[in-house]
Symmetry: C2
Subunit: 342 residues, 2 copies
Amino acid sequence: MQRTGQPTINDVARIAGVSKKTVSRVINRSPLLGDDTRRRVEEVIGDLGYIPNPQARALALRRNFLIGLVHDNPNAQTVMNVQQGMLEALHDTEFEMVVRPVDRGSATMLDDLRRFLERQRLYGVLLMPPVSENDMVAKLCRAIGCRYVRMGSAALDDSPHMVASNDREAVRGATEYLLAQGHKRIGLIGGPHGFRSARERRAGFEEALSQAGVSLPRSLIADGNYTFESGLVAAERLLDLVPRPTAVFSCNDEMAAGVMHAAQMRGLSVPRDLSIIGFDDTPIAAHIWPPLTTVRWPIASMARSAALKLIANGEEDDEVEEPSLFLSTLIRRGSVASPAID
Amino acid sequence: MQRTGQPTINDVARIAGVSKKTVSRVINRSPLLGDDTRRRVEEVIGDLGYIPNPQARALALRRNFLIGLVHDNPNAQTVMNVQQGMLEALHDTEFEMVVRPVDRGSATMLDDLRRFLERQRLYGVLLMPPVSENDMVAKLCRAIGCRYVRMGSAALDDSPHMVASNDREAVRGATEYLLAQGHKRIGLIGGPHGFRSARERRAGFEEALSQAGVSLPRSLIADGNYTFESGLVAAERLLDLVPRPTAVFSCNDEMAAGVMHAAQMRGLSVPRDLSIIGFDDTPIAAHIWPPLTTVRWPIASMARSAALKLIANGEEDDEVEEPSLFLSTLIRRGSVASPAID
DNA sequence: TTGTACGCGTTATCAT
DNA sequence: ATGATAACGCGTACAA
């Protein structure tokens, strides 16, 4: 034992009567090793409670056992779901999660990120939307040799570097559900420009309407930025329209909650006077009144899968490869009904 | 330059014509250093864009430049607020944040935590409630020489290791506000057993009532566990009471949202038929309808202060010491009114 | 199959 | 005030 209190590889080697390198081989599961030697070393490791020092490994390997979560996502619940999924994948491994928010918008974002990655020598990074949609970021990771996996609402990269959801189809389905209920005047509250998810969801909405031959006047489309407040403002404009839309599809739950808030403020009853569908299925969807019908976005599972991709051995032994596409599904709750007769 | 592409301390030393140690002294702001030498080295550092390698420093110092966030908090928004506050404090420093959820309940929690801290050699940890209330955890940190700061709803430790809020007084004030509106039958939805915050908030509630000479029958106290669902269930029991309480204080916002949900489900109007006050001021408070009157808990500021305490130089130069007590204040919104005449 | 010698990039000790 | 030399704990050529 050294003065730090913790046993080192030298202690193990000395006590087991072998060289450091042999211990190192045991740790790293080198195939060329005598069975008896391996057993003897493993026994000493167990007795001593020896754990390889991550700092020394990081220095020697020129690579840290840290997985970065890079995000600029405004939604707290979404970020937490991603963290939970990541940590699930990292549990009982030697990896830890370090969180790095970035400022999309900032001109120095790429430089900041580069410095971060080069300094910390991360094992890999998980890129959350919307920063994951920036090809320059992926390019940067490749350039400096940092593994990465992108999460997003469409396949933006090849399978080892991507975990995607099918937002477009999911929204098309949700919109078809609204149409099936008899709605014809359906408003859309879109996500912020530059978000791929916003584009995909809007596209799914428009596809469903056009396929059903339902017209979509420009006035029924309102801009939002995924915040509650933007949903509120957008809804106020939509609800002033004459005739009023009978339903609204909101590109996420936060904004949908804003729509509901706006409706209640003016004494409208949901779903009798207005049907609403959201997207994400964050807790707020089930907690507001009436409970929100929404599209469930399996973001935690996606994050878990992304983290597993990151730390997966390139040797893909008996391991099953992690999926790259996750399906979103409609959760029917209490915010949709047939429109009142005109 | 080495093959890794990044300049090392050796490059700086060679080019500046000094020894490694001198460069090290410049980096670590050693006071005993010639001004001209320092300037020369700093110039070379600037030219090369040299950045000290954190892995090597961690090995040599036997201490990582990582701050851990240890938590077992069920509320996503609260955790995110803490992370945001921490990251604010860590921004533009050499520190990174690694997140470590733990399982209170688990018998091996302390051992797991010990292994984590010893392995990663964290610079320090920020302990979030409720795990921060566990004295064994603080004891563990002291034992293995890991700096720590605890966050909580009461002063559980000395100032350098604690950032607290005044939950008890804040709730007393909120309850007095309810009393001032004319409420006499006020229900309480408590937090989970073992949460110090739950104890403090309940104590504040009871103090206000007893000070005003208002009775608090046992039936008006319902148990909750800080989740929406528990608030819903608790409210259902409270609202079945005859006579019905005219107001409810809920020990957090999530449960208050559950109360509101329950009220709406049975056609009760808030605040006409029922006044509600929550605690935390998470976004959900402003987003539900009607907007929730609640006590604002400055958790992000607390976390920021805690992180600054953690990385503060023991030398407390000209730096102002970080505060250890943060005040919660009542935010009046739309969920409180005078009770209808009986 | 196993061991020796050295490198990773920094800080610490003890000289001068 | 500055420098030579040895840690820190582990991985890797290369040799045996």
